[in-house]
């Protein structure tokens, strides 16, 4: 028997997809609150510009490119799933997971360098925001990678291919969050 999320669409949208939209709506409130708080503090604290000068713009730009590329592979996975090509969808999802891994490795190098220079989460308010926002985002990347691994496993056997779109939608949202984090934390100096 199939789960209700794949068979019911009382709202005009399959319940599984509706749930992902609901998740995204609640995530907007979480990240939106964090980013709005950062923006108001950034405007009220001129010294944030000096602190932000220590963040690595090129690492941030590279990670933006990586996430945009992984979003592309998530879309290609969705297209493959619509054509019922499960193995290709799985390959594209694995490529997306690889993008997430590269993102985390770059972030790891970045954080290591910053911490070695004495910039930790308790250094001041800017670095508290920096590590909280980027860390929360990185946790979402990890969650997406785990979910995608499960979906890819099913897709490989041509099972539950509708989930490819759902996990892709979540990934695109994570990408959008980073699109806003990048200029806020790395460019506004």
């Amino acid at each position: 028997m199939k789960p209700i999320a794949t068979t019911r669409s009382a709202t005009g949208i399959p319940t599984g997809r509706l749930a992902v939209w609901w998740l995204i709506a609640s995530e907007i409130v979480i990240f939106g609150g964090l980013l709005a708080s950062y923006v108001m503090h950034r405007i009220g604290h001129a010294e944030f510009g000096d602190y932000a000068a220590h963040t690595n713009t090129w690492a941030g730009a590279l990670n933006t490119l990586v996430l945009l590329t992984s979003s592309l592979s998530a879309v290609l996975a969705h297209e493959a799933a619509e054509k019922r090509d499960g193995p290709r969808a799985a390959r594209m999802l694995l490529f997306t997971i690889l993008g997430g891994a590269v993102f985390l490795v770059v972030k790891g190098f970045e954080w290591t360098t910053e911490i070695r220079h004495g910039f930790t989460i308790t250094t001041n308010m800017f670095w508290s925001f920096y590590y909280t926002a980027a860390g929360l985002h990185a946790l979402h990347v990890i969650a997406g990678m785990i979910a995608m691994a499960f979906v890819a496993r099913g897709a490989l056997a041509n099972r539950e291919l509708q989930r490819v779109e759902l996990v892709g939608n979540y990934w695109h949202f994570v990408d959008i969050v980073w699109i806003f984090l990048f200029p806020l934390l790395y460019i506004a100096k």
Binding site: T11, W21, A25, H45, D50, A74, E160, I176, I187
Partner: protein, 144 residues
Amino acid sequence: MTTLSTERHEEEAPRASGEEPRPAEAHGAEHEHAHANPVKVWAILCVLLVVSVVGPMAEIRIVTLITAFGIAGVKAYLVAKHFLHLGAERRYIAYALAVSVAFMVLLFAGVAPDVMEHHGRNWKNVAAAKEVERALHEAASDEH
């Protein structure tokens, strides 16, 4: 397929296995919408990324605001429209997401006046003002 929106699907691709066919009404929006070529959208996003990195190097405030934050908005719009296919989704989803964004704006409007300013007609945030002064002084002495 020479532009972003020329690939019109006459028939929606077969449903992925495991999912029941959607009601005809629910199909409506997706049936008619045009899918952009995702590789072209990605290429445009990459060009915008380059602009958002290079633009602020001019160190002109207005250019930084436009190239960094204006372009972030454009990039987010492209991802939402062409990757998330938000435009092809049922309208109430966009409204639900808009409500979430409205909550964020409400938070900003309610709290920002007290955070962005350090003094008002009958109040003064001494701690915040001192912190800004201390940090700027420290940054200036580091430069020397």
